[in-house]
């Protein structure tokens, strides 16, 4: 279907609810004195939006608002991911002492706006919408990065992020203007038709794609668009860092896949995608993927600050996720979607422990984790061990299954070198993840190290995330079914 403005509203409830929640939170923030209510209200808004999204999942697909955006399983999948991340991060924010000192109403408002931007990133089928939604997510991210008052590191991170983001989106919009110049259209399906029917200049297309990739790539954080990430991850309020590492990354993948797959590739009957002939795209991505994971892992080795270490590990994981893109087939894409869900769970869990430790000690450095298992409750240390081993990709945890699918997709298409580099990287990553586990369990705490308190809310969330990490490591069937069902693009 191809609906006009009024008819589209019926399929637009998730966005309407979320936008309504944003406005409601701003207004109620002026009236309500108890700030926990604001957080609870935001979560409620997200849950309502999630309900509406799930309902659309069983409904029809089609273009909405004069082909400005598309409703299909692929976009709904990423909306669910964005909402899940937002809900979990809001939940996490309840137990963060850092966030408690901030303006709750504005914090929740901007976080929800960011989620709304991700909705549009996942469903944009027009370069104008793609650009606008990306800017929406970027602007809200700059704001939340610099949200800590009178904190030099936070302000510096926001400024760095802003400058890198500005350059990246400038490059992207320049690339988009080339595409527009070659095809005369902003609409993805018209671009597709023009590129496949006409005889486009391959070099010009390649340049345009690289420029556009700068904009998308800085959201997914792959090399060479990664420079901002360690400083921003370290400077931002920790729950928002967690949000940035999973949701922003996923939204970047969504917009990238939508543009490069249904946009400028053709799906063959055997589930393999054919890219525009003559543009050596997969080879280019292959190199980017290998460099990204290697650089991320090697830089993570020497880090003392946990947030910085997780930033570099995030870069490495962006490299792993890119592996699914290189093979240009449905299997690879499905592995990517699976990995995004798994990464969301385990990375949010790891950041939750960082929040808890920072609450107790005010430290994010590794020595704050000294003997964590013997300081008060042992639960955070055990959960952290689960998340970190899952990030490494050890069985029987969810991270292993995610990596297994990615490696399998790559090996089946005989990209042996890539698989080899990825395996070597996993081994390197074991070193720095295991170092944290060693410090937590084998080192003894000193008298000055604070006890780590666990409130019921944080304990429930921690339990939920670690159980999910374990369960998806053993029983991944439903998640595989869900991701393979979600890999449906609506193009006609």
């Amino acid at each position: 279907m191809d609906l006009d403005n009024l008819a589209s509203l019926e399929y637009f409830y998730p966005e309407i609810i979320l936008a309504g929640a944003i406005l409601l939170v701003i207004v109620l923030d002026l009236v309500i004195k108890n700030k926990r209510v604001i957080g609870a209200l935001s979560i409620l808004g997200c849950l309502a939006s999630l309900g509406a999204t799930l309902q659309l999942y069983s409904g029809p697909s089609g273009f909405l608002f004069h082909r400005m955006m598309v409703l299909d399983h692929f976009s709904l999948f990423f909306k669910i991911v964005a909402l899940a991340a937002t809900i979990l991060v809001l939940w996490m924010s309840f137990s963060s002492r850092e966030v408690a000192s901030l303006h709750q109403g504005e914090y929740a408002t901007i976080l929800l706006s960011s989620a709304l931007g991700m909705f549009f990133m996942a469903s944009a089928t027009n370069l104008l919408m793609a650009y606008l939604s990306l800017e929406m997510v970027s602007i809200t991210s700059y704001i939340l990065t610099g949200f800590l008052p009178r904190n030099r590191r936070s302000s510096e991170a926001a400024l760095k992020y802003l400058i890198y983001g500005g350059v990246a989106s400038g490059a992207m919009i320049y690339g988009m203007s080339w595409i527009f110049g070659m095809t005369g259209s902003l609409d993805y399906s018209q671009i597709h038709a023009a590129l496949f029917q006409g005889q486009p200049n391959q070099l010009a297309l390649f340049i345009a794609f690289v420029l556009i990739l700068a904009g998308f790539g800085y959201k997914i954080v792959f090399v060479p668009f990664h420079m901002w990430s360690p400083d921003v991850y370290q400077g931002a309020p920790t729950p928002f860092t967690a949000f940035l590492s999973v949701a922003s990354n996923a939204a970047g993948v969504a917009i990238l896949l939508r543009f490069f797959f249904p946009g400028v590739s053709q799906l063959g009957p055997d589930g393999s995608w054919r890219f525009l002939s003559g543009v050596e795209w997969p080879q280019f991505l292959l190199i980017v993927s290998m460099v990204t994971m290697t650089l991320g892992n090697l830089s993570a080795l020497g880090q003392q600050n946990l947030k910085r270490m997780l930033a570099y590990s995030g870069i490495a994981h962006a490299g792993y996720i890119l592996m699914g893109l290189v093979v240009l087939n449905t299997e690879g894409l499905q592995a990517m979607l699976f990995y995004i869900v798994v990464y969301l769970i385990m990375n949010l869990g790891a950041f939750l422990v960082v929040v808890l430790v920072a609450n107790a000690t005010g430290k994010e450095e590794i020595d704050g984790y000294r003997g964590l298992a013997w300081r008060g409750s042992a639960v955070p240390a055990i959960a952290m061990a689960i998340f970190l081993f899952s990030l490494t990709g050890l069985p029987p945890l969810a991270g292993f299954v995610g990596k297994f699918f990615l490696f399998a997709a790559v090996i089946k298409q005989q990209f042996y070198l890539l698989a080899l580099v990825a395996v070597a990287n996993s081994v390197i990553s074991l070193y720095y993840y295991a170092r944290v586990v060693k410090v937590m369990f084998l080192d003894f705490p000193e008298a000055s190290d604070g006890r780590v308190e666990l409130n019921p809310g944080a304990a429930t969330l921690l339990g939920l995330l670690s159980v999910m990490t374990l369960v998806f490591g053993i029983y991944w069937g439903p998640l595989v079914a869900f991701t393979s069902q979600s890999l449906q693009f609506f193009t006609k």
Binding site: H66, S113, L128, S133, M136, T140, Y142, N201, A204, I207
Partner: protein, 166 residues
Amino acid sequence: MEVGTVVFYLIALLVVASAAMVAFSHNIIYSAFSLLGTFAGVAGIYVFLGADFVAAVQLLIYVGGILVLILFAVMLTHRITDVQITNRSAGVVPGLIIVGLLFWLLYETITTTPWAKAKEIAYAATSAKIGDQFLQSYLLPFELASIVLLAALIGAVVLARKEMKG
């Protein structure tokens, strides 16, 4: 060369030269003033493209609003002229080589690519059409832009305000 082409290149020169001034000037007030040439020149390019409404808006918002705001911010900031922004440039030679190569690559590509040419530019009023489009095909981006601006506004207020408590 036609007169139109000559005028176009003069405007383009104005834009690029002013932009270079913005980037290379050591005094931030000169940089701010140089933006005038860039903004006004871009308005001229819009006129060339037959986009009368956009050109007028460019003049109103960028030259009339944003530039004045920047100048105010620069002038009101205490002792801003004392700060010498030196743009320390390291590795000028390799940088120039890379920029030169990139420029050559882009130039070669642009001149050999068959671009989708627009039909003859019709110099007619566009504002009515833009209004129609905003409420029809482009309603969604129009509304989305308003949410982006709302979020930016809230963010700006939060980041700029003084802490009241404590």
